[in-house]
Amino acid sequence: MSTSTAVRPFDLDAAWHLHEQVSIRPERFGALLYHFGTRQLSFLKSPLLLQVVNALADSRTARTACVDAGVAAGDLASYATALQTLAASQMICERSTP
């Protein structure tokens, strides 16, 4: 399942959450992410994206997490791309229960 997420476009209408082995450290520019399982470091390049990622687990879909955080409709596509990058590196995962 994780391999197929890498190729298909990000599903904004699915439910997502941060991988349990990932730590987030807020920074002025956004945040640093570290995955203890893959030992990969990643970056969130804006504080708003950090807000979205933090809200994923408690939001019904990724789209609601974006909208609730205040992402403008015109910016949704670029946030989906950023989330797709995080999904491809297993920083965030789809969850089955809403």
Binding site: Q21, S23, R25, E27, R28, F29, L32, Y34, F36, G37, R39, L41, F43, K45, S46, P47, L48
Partner: protein, 398 residues
Amino acid sequence: MTATALPLVEQFQYGLDAPICLTWELTYACNLSCVHCLSSSGRRDPRELSTAECNAVIDELERMQVFYVNIGGGEPTVRPDFWELVDYATEHHVGVKFSTNGVKITPEVALRLATSDYVDVQISLDGATADVNDAVRGDGSYATALRAMQNLADAGFTGFKISVVMTRQNVDQLDAFKAIADRFAAQLRITRLRPSGRGADVWDELHPTAAQQRVLYDWLVAHGDGVLTGDSFFHLAAFGESLPGLNLCGAGRVVCLIDPVGDVYACPFAIHENFLAGNVRGDGGFTTVWRESDLFTDLRRPQTGGACMSCSAFDACRGGCMAAKFFTGLPLDGPDPECVKGNADAALLAVASGSAPKPSLDHSHRTARRPVPITLGLRASTPPVGACNENPLAGLAI
């Protein structure tokens, strides 16, 4: 929403509230005497941080949300409390990646390591063959490293790191190193030789030639993300495209070194008083050194680039490695001694022999073979006859 979306490399230049990762050398004690040891290790320093002091540093790292530490030495596993410290760190959400020559990686230890997600191991190997490796790391060190790798592989530990310092003698073994890593389901990590510690003594014979630097660059471009580099080859970015990772010197900005006695240096390759920011034993501990020391504040100011500013490759290599310049006697705002454009060649020739700064510390074993001065001379005359010599012919010269 912040309007200032500076590239990350710019953000990092001005420093972070906590390092992304840091190197922590737990001891200067080592069973080996590698000729290029960047910390001139060998003998334990009696002022080494105690277990309690190490735990206090780990508590700080947890509060600062440092994700992981690169533990090294010396040979860190010879500290009697090594495993206790590893456990303490991982229990406090500080991941550990430790570098070892493999001497203590028994089958039992390998099994234990294989079960932890929060501990990563890096085995040092500086030759893909025993002759090349042992010439640098000492007799038997190749066999020790390979045995450790076998133990890790047998225990099911995949993805451990094999860490190679690139030298003139091993650049042509790059494919062989990759094959060793593949054989053990490990990951290859290659890093740059620095003229730091004892490395200064062997730099001229060991550092890769200009032609080898090109070979190295092409090999790195071909292998991309599949090979780790500790982001240490950013000076090669001047050949063309940037290499994966951070292409900037992170010293005092996103990385630093804590040495065995708690001294905090800007980077692991700069053990010299000029790059000493403070000590974790001081008031305010590591946090204050990181956030407030004069040295680190200074390093986080915009750098001028000096003589390199007019170079077309400056944005790619940013003048290269501070430690490499310092210990070869070059100015810090000029080109790297291994500048691929050859811009340091004239300056290097002008450095008077023996004038480059020396490391502030030396914990090398004292057992190295070196000449011992003795005075040879002929006895001026025959030895005096002892008072107790009862031989009637004593002292008789015919």
